[in-house]
């Protein structure tokens, strides 16, 4: 029962908000309450998974290889919890950021459907069901992206829609081919059947189609260009939601597939994954350096961070996977918060162009502190959560002797710091240029509903930095479950499969 609550609650909330769409205020509160309830349900799930082991729900009472199983292990549970947290913050932030006009176009329902799709993808144990959840979250994200459509939004959404549809097609073909060869779609059963085969990497050649589809959704190296052109065009609430939820589902699917049904091909794919991770990191951060708008800088940083996470995954060690999981959690919280902050900067100064903003340090001290925490956590300043995340990946890389990868991690960290400094100097310090009219700019007070979610996320970032050990040991436990597929296979299929 616990397993299905993070999927059911957003669904009920979304349906309620569709029914009450003519009362925008009621609809907004439904969004806040539903995502809060989801957050609580997923926190309970996470604690209970951590203490009692993997939770499995066979939907409809059908036993594992035949029915659709919902599986919550430590990785899935923590991802659900963090995603629900971001959705909760976004639904508070939306009070002032999203006009009533968009709420009347079912904005709240779409956010909740998105959350439902994301949580479903994290909790399903069935490959085809994963495809369905991907489509649920993609459909919701398509509409969110073009809602309140402007010129620019269409351009970005076209790339996003077409490329993601291509990804879904590849996913479907990959799943079909895998089924025709192995005869099951349950991920644990797939892993079990493939592990008992001598040449499972050859049986599983079509798995590369799945990897390609997941990589496209995660925004890794050759397939990332839809991301920076679509994320910065939506309203800030939507950008923050997408930054926290969407690419992470792709990364999650890569982790899941590499540890379950592609685990036989780990050796063949390791070089490919490490190369892709390195290129993703470096090209993402170089793209960010070239940008002049805060949101574009942040969008490119998503790519380079995805590279970091993939680097952890590609090592296939407990330390590497634990680093990747820790990085995922840190990254979701920090990146969503940075988009929230960019929204507040634009609200204060009318633009997120670095050359048009400035002097925010004096005008908005709270905002400056918030940016400092998140921005420099992203860059990996010691004592903030990003430092531990980068350290974990770096340490895992050095242990495996992946020198080039480790060098990349350090170098990209430095460039990230550079581009965070660029935002800090451009927007918070004196500003590169005086304001065109020369008038003293007065700060408009920021609405509480925008500052509060940002403070919440900032506090969590600080907390993760100061007591990051707890989350890291949780990540280690999650990674140990992942590296040994038999744990999850036994949990899903029963003791003696």
């Amino acid at each position: 029962m616990k397993v299905i609550l993070p999927i059911i609650i957003p669904l009920i909330g979304a349906l309620l908000s569709i029914a009450l769409v003519h009362k925008p205020m009621v609809s907004r509160w439904i969004g806040v309450l539903a995502s809060l309830a989801t957050l609580m349900a997923s926190a309970i799930l996470m604690v209970s998974v951590d203490t009692q082991g993997i939770h499995v729900l066979h939907s409809g009472g059908w036993q594992a290889p035949f029915g659709i199983s919902l599986v919550a292990d430590r990785l899935g549970a923590v991802m659900v919890a963090v995603s629900s947290l971001v959705a909760f913050c976004a639904s508070i932030y939306a009070f002032k950021d999203i006009p009533n006009q968009l709420v009347k176009k079912h904005f709240i329902a779409l956010v909740l459907f998105l959350l439902m799709g994301v949580n479903g993808a994290y909790l399903t144990g069935d490959l085809f069901n994963l495809y369905v959840w991907f489509e649920v979250l993609l459909s919701a994200s398509f509409v969110l992206l073009v809602l309140g459509s402007g010129h620019q939004q269409f351009k970005g959404s076209l790339k996003y829609v077409v490329l993601n549809l291509l990804g879904s097609t590849l996913f479907l073909i990959g799943a079909g081919l895998l089924y025709s060869k192995v005869g099951t779609l349950n991920m644990a059963d797939l892993a079990f059947k493939l592990s008992s085969h001598e040449q499972s990497d050859l049986v599983n050649s079509s798995g590369i189609l799945l990897l390609l589809a997941f990589g496209l959704k995660a925004g890794v190296f050759p397939l990332f260009f839809w991301l920076p052109s679509s994320y910065p065009t939506a309203p800030y609430t939507v950008s923050a939601l997408f930054a926290g939820l969407l690419t992470k589902v792709g990364i999650y699917a890569i982790i899941r597939s590499m540890t379950l049904f592609l685990s036989g091909a780990q050796d063949d794919l390791q070089t490919l994954l490490i190369t892709v991770a390195l290129l993703t990191m470096v090209l993402g951060v170089l793209g960010a350096v070239a940008q002049g708008h805060i949101r574009q800088i942040l969008s490119f940083h998503i790519i380079s961070q995805v590279g970091y996470i993939l680097a952890g995954v590609a090592l296939f060690t407990v330390a590497g996977l634990a680093g990747a999981i820790f990085y995922l959690v840190h990254h979701i919280i920090v990146k969503s918060n940075l988009f929230f902050i960019a929204g507040m900067i634009e609200r204060q100064r009318g633009s997120d162009d670095l050359y048009k903003t400035g002097r925010l340090r004096k005008m908005a001290p709270v905002l400056s502190v918030l940016f400092f925490i998140s921005g420099f956590s992203l860059a990996g300043l010691p004592l903030l959560s990003g430092f531990w995340a980068k350290l974990a990946v770096l340490k895992a890389g050095l242990e495996e002797g992946a020198w080039l990868l480790s060098a990349g991690v350090v170098l990209v960290g430095i460039i990230t710091l550079l581009s965070m400094l660029k935002i800090w100097i451009g927007s918070f310090w004196e500003g590169s240029r005086p304001s065109p009219t020369g008038d003293p700019i007065k700060a408009t007070p920021l609405p509480l509903s925008m500052v509060l979610p940002s403070i919440l996320l900032g506090a969590i970032t600080l907390g993760l930095g100061l007591v990051g050990g707890d989350l890291y040991s949780y990540s280690i436990r999650a990674a140990e479950d992942l590296i040994e597929p038999m744990t999850i296979i036994q949990a899903v299929l029963g003791e003696s499969p």
Binding site: Y131, E135, L138, S139, Q152, F154, V161, L165, L172, H293
Partner: protein
Amino acid sequence: MEWILGITAGILLSTGLYSLLKRHLLQILIGILLMGHGANLMVFLSGGLNPGQPAFVAEGAKALSRNSSDPLPQALVLTAIVIGFGIVGFVLILFKQSWVIVGSLSTEAYRTSKGERRNT
């Protein structure tokens, strides 16, 4: 029988991809449609084709007989078709809105539209 459908799926996928790379939005839509059909056909094929064998479990038996097709991929394809239908509906609306707002159905128009200049 399988090989005909296999080749058909290949043709659908390749023509779909070709069409997807075009500049006109309607051609892109046709590409999406063709690729979707190709993918559905491949999943359908994964259950095997055995004409004249209804997917009923014979009396007394526990499973389907060896020479009947696997019904599961057919159920999967139904799901995929429904999802694809919804998505294509959305894409049609998106392209129609693009015609209203951008005033063109060519992706070239996106490159030269006002939005691009604002960015640089």
